[in-house]
């Protein structure tokens, strides 16, 4: 099945990608000295006793950046096949893609003008 043989490379990369971090963590576990006691196992918070409720109100910017990332990630998935087939598509597809990007840039400009791209 020659089609799936092409994925051997992917499998090899995946294998090394898993083995290297697992190996690093395992080496740390084997080599580092470990003498745990209840005091040491507490979460460290500037030397103070840890408050019981650990649900901190995070900054909503985390979500906003993830949101922008998702939208432009989706844009990329349409750019990629366009780029691959570009030679056979001609001017029409080029103009269509410019329109596509132009519409999405409006969103980016909106985020920029509302100062949502800055970390406050």
């Amino acid at each position: 099945m020659p089609y799936f043989l092409g994925y051997t490379y992917v499998a090899v990369f995946l294998l090394f990608g898993i083995l290297i971090p697992v190996g690093a963590l395992l080496a740390n576990r084997l080599l580092a000295p470990r003498h745990p006691d209840p005091e040491k196992l507490q979460a460290y918070e500037c030397g103070l006793a840890t408050p019981s409720d650990n649900t901190l109100p995070y900054n909503v910017r985390y979500y906003i950046f993830a949101l922008l990332f998702v939208v432009f990630d989706v844009e990329t998935i349409f750019l990629y096949p366009w780029a691959v087939a570009f030679n056979r598509l001609g001017l029409f597809a080029f103009v269509e893609m410019i329109v596509f990007i132009g519409i999405l840039v409006v969103g980016l400009v909106y985020a920029w003008k509302k100062r949502l791209l800055e970390w406050l």
Binding site: V60, Y63, L67, V71, D73, V74, I77
Partner: protein, 100 residues
Amino acid sequence: MPSLGDFLAVGAGLFVLGLFGALMKRTAVAVLMGIELMLNAANLNLVAFAAFSGRISGQIFALFVIALAAAEVAVGLAILLSLFRSRATVRMDDIDLLKG
């Protein structure tokens, strides 16, 4: 060699699990996850039909569905965050302002 029916059966299983999760979970985030599972089941069916019929259209449909699902999750979770800010809860049972 798995047949087209096998892929559709997995899609059916995925859809049923997603439906069950969407209706049983209390947390709104988990309900959205169930909806995502159902969309994935539909996508799996589209790609399976496309592959077994040797045509590409099904894959394009799947691509559009993925784009729509991403937009849907983005808006859904934004609504959720806004709801959490005004009502301090994301439990579906606690959001009963319209019950009268």
